[in-house]
């Protein structure tokens, strides 16, 4: 599926220009608060109308202002999961889920699968006011999925969720991504949350949307520098599989996907999952140290050797991408950079504690 946008939207004090083509199954939209992320989704969904331009999904024109085409919201078949969930307060969870389920008798199997996938079985009779924020998010996602939508839009699905609930929602979203073949666009002002779902990111900045790019490319091309000023912390996100668990020593080994030579050691208490389970790993760039050699007499368990492929200065620190079989993003101070003589092509070791790794299933 290809989503193509070329439009301009403006109000008295806001402007958004979008010219991009989305081809990935799951794409993140990232920008600071107020940059227009939700407006972008609203325009795709049909809640707002561009001043001029086109929105085309798979050769179907949803909006073309030049010929006065504007397919109404209810005919676009776009499942929209709103930030505030918007569950219907007079319907229980089951009725919310089946609200737009066109032919219940034929689609009982799909309904059951969705309920199972989102683990909503115990709450079907509950009213929206009596369930938690995480459960409400799952109901909203299920409701959108069951509406026979061709695309799923998720607006800040993690906002207002505490860390355990956020982790839970991320798990369910990853499950959906794994099970359903439906393009998903997720908006968040937290890049790290987005990265746990996708590495393909559209940036919205200065009233413009940019073409989707991989996270690593965005760092390489210094596209995140401005946003970095807003407290962005570079994270490393990897997918992998648990290959061993040493309960006595409280550690587990994770084989990184598509990198047969890279295994990471994580703290077992952080996982609670059996061997062969798929996990996502999150590691803050600031938690990665750089050394010129492997250090043996140290407690740090993860030490990966590699070559610096990208290095540039941003304010008072260096942003560094090291190719260790996996790309490791790190930040070091200018002083450390000088002492170690860091430069592109130099061989270094990336060190990070197993305790610094956060895992998501």
């Amino acid at each position: 599926m290809i989503i193509s946008t070329d439009f301009e939207y403006s109000t008295d004090n806001f402007r958004l220009n979008s010219r991009c083509e989305i081809k990935n199954r799951i794409t993140g939209v990232f920008g600071i608060s107020g940059s227009g992320k939700t407006t972008f989704l609203n325009l795709l969904a049909g809640l707002q109308k561009p001043v001029s331009g086109k929105i085309i999904i798979n050769d179907k024109t949803l909006v073309d202002t030049s010929v006065n085409i504007n397919i109404p919201l209810h005919k676009r078949r776009i499942g929209y999961v709103f930030q505030d969930t918007r569950l219907f307060p007079h319907m229980n969870v089951l009725k919310n889920l089946t609200y737009a389920h066109k032919n219940p008798s034929l689609n009982q199997k799909i309904l059951k699968e969705t309920i199972d996938l989102l683990e909503l079985g115990p709450y079907l009779k509950s009213m929206p006011g009596n369930i938690s924020g995480g459960q409400a998010q799952r109901v909203a996602i299920g409701r959108a999925l069951l509406s026979n939508a061709k695309i799923l839009l998720l607006d800040e699905p993690f906002t207002a969720l505490d860390k355990p609930l956020k982790k839970q929602v991320i798990t369910f979203l990853n499950r959906i991504i794994e099970h359903l073949d439906i393009p998903i666009i997720v908006v968040s002002h937290e890049l790290n949350d987005l990265l746990l779902l996708t590495q393909e990111i559209i940036i919205i900045q200065d009233g413009k949307t940019f073409q989707p790019k991989s996270y690593i490319d965005l760092i390489r091309e210094k596209k995140l520098l401005e946003l970095n000023g807003h407290g962005l912390n570079y994270h490393n996100i990897y997918s992998g599989e648990i290959i061993k668990t040493d309960k006595n020593n409280g550690i587990s080994g994770v084989q990184i996907q598509n990198s047969p030579d890279v295994q990471l050691i994580v703290e077992s208490d952080n996982i609670h999952l059996p061997v062969k389970s798929h996990v996502k790993i999150s590691l803050r760039g600031a938690d990665v140290s750089v050394a010129l050699r492997e250090i043996t007499d140290i407690s740090i368990k993860n030490q990966l050797g590699g070559t610096i492929e990208t290095l540039y200065q941003h304010r008072n620190h260096l942003v560094c991408i090291v190719d260790c079989g996996i790309k490791v993003i790190t930040r070091v101070t200018l002083d450390s950079g000088k002492k170690l003589g860091l430069k592109t092509g130099k061989k270094v070791w990336c060190l990070f504690k197993s305790l610094a790794i956060e895992t998501f299933n």
Binding site: G79, Y80, P89
Partner: protein, 239 residues
């Protein structure tokens, strides 16, 4: 049928003439309410959801009977729909139908005075329905009309119900516009308020007056209790 009711409320010793007044009042109030409510829902929803030029003026005109002296409202109705009125004359000439001083006039007068009351309540309740929920419904592929019946209407239901009961009570108690436009014709257009008024003028009719007042209190109370019960049922269902 009338006598069966009489036996139920025999302790009040309501006469047959009084029963006919009560039944006429209830009939006029029920018919007026049934006619008013669908229009009030449409109008209230429209006014609660849309902005347009001249909206305040339009609303002001609709709400006029709420603040105008009811007798003046009745007089205006007479000017418009009376046998010599500019619309009433046409109706009489074309169809041979006279509106003024008939039960139809009593119904029209009740509709005119109760409509703004129902509309106000309906409009407020629609305004309280989160517009985002309607957008959420449409984003799920549900048409605006279905969204209205499945989201907006059920969520505004308690307000619509209150408005309906208020309107019904207003119809039941309507006096000024009715007496001016429909008259106080015994057995034809004389409703409870008019019968009470007439009885008050005649010495020795005090007990009949009290009986009618008690009946109107009972009817109003029953209506309010039913409304409260349904309202609570709606609230309980949501929690």
């Amino acid at each position: 049928m009338t006598f069966e009711y009489c036996s139920i409320l025999s302790f009040l010793q309501i006469s047959e003439a009084e029963w006919s007044v009560i039944l006429l009042s209830v009939k006029v109030a029920v018919i007026s309410t049934i006619i008013s409510v669908p229009f009030a829902i449409t109008f209230g929803w429209f006014m609660g959801r849309y902005r347009f030029r001249g909206k305040s003026v339009f609303e002001g005109i609709i709400h006029l009977p709420l603040v105008m002296p009811p007798v003046a409202t009745g007089y205006l109705l007479l000017i418009v729909l009376g046998k010599q009125g500019f619309i009433g004359k046409l109706i009489f000439n074309w169809f041979g139908v006279q509106i003024a001083f008939t039960q139809t006039a009593a119904v029209i007068a009740a509709i005119v005075v109760s409509f703004p009351l129902i509309t106000r309540s309906v409009r407020t309740s629609f305004e309280m329905v989160d517009i985002k929920l309607e957008a959420a419904s449409r984003s799920l592929g549900i048409s605006p009309l279905k969204t209205f019946f499945r989201i907006s209407f059920p969520l505004a239901f308690s307000g619509i119900l209150s408005g309906t009961i208020l309107g019904f009570a207003r119809c039941l108690g309507e006096f000024g516009a009715t007496i001016t436009f429909a008259g106080n014709i015994s057995g034809k257009t004389s409703t409870i308020p008019m019968a009470v008024y007439s009885n008050m003028q005649i010495p020795g009719k005090e007990s009949a007056t009290i009986r009618l007042v008690i009946v109107s209190v009972i009817i109003s109370l029953i209506a309010m209790i039913i409304a409260e019960y349904l309202n609570r049922k709606v609230i309980r269902k949501r929690s």
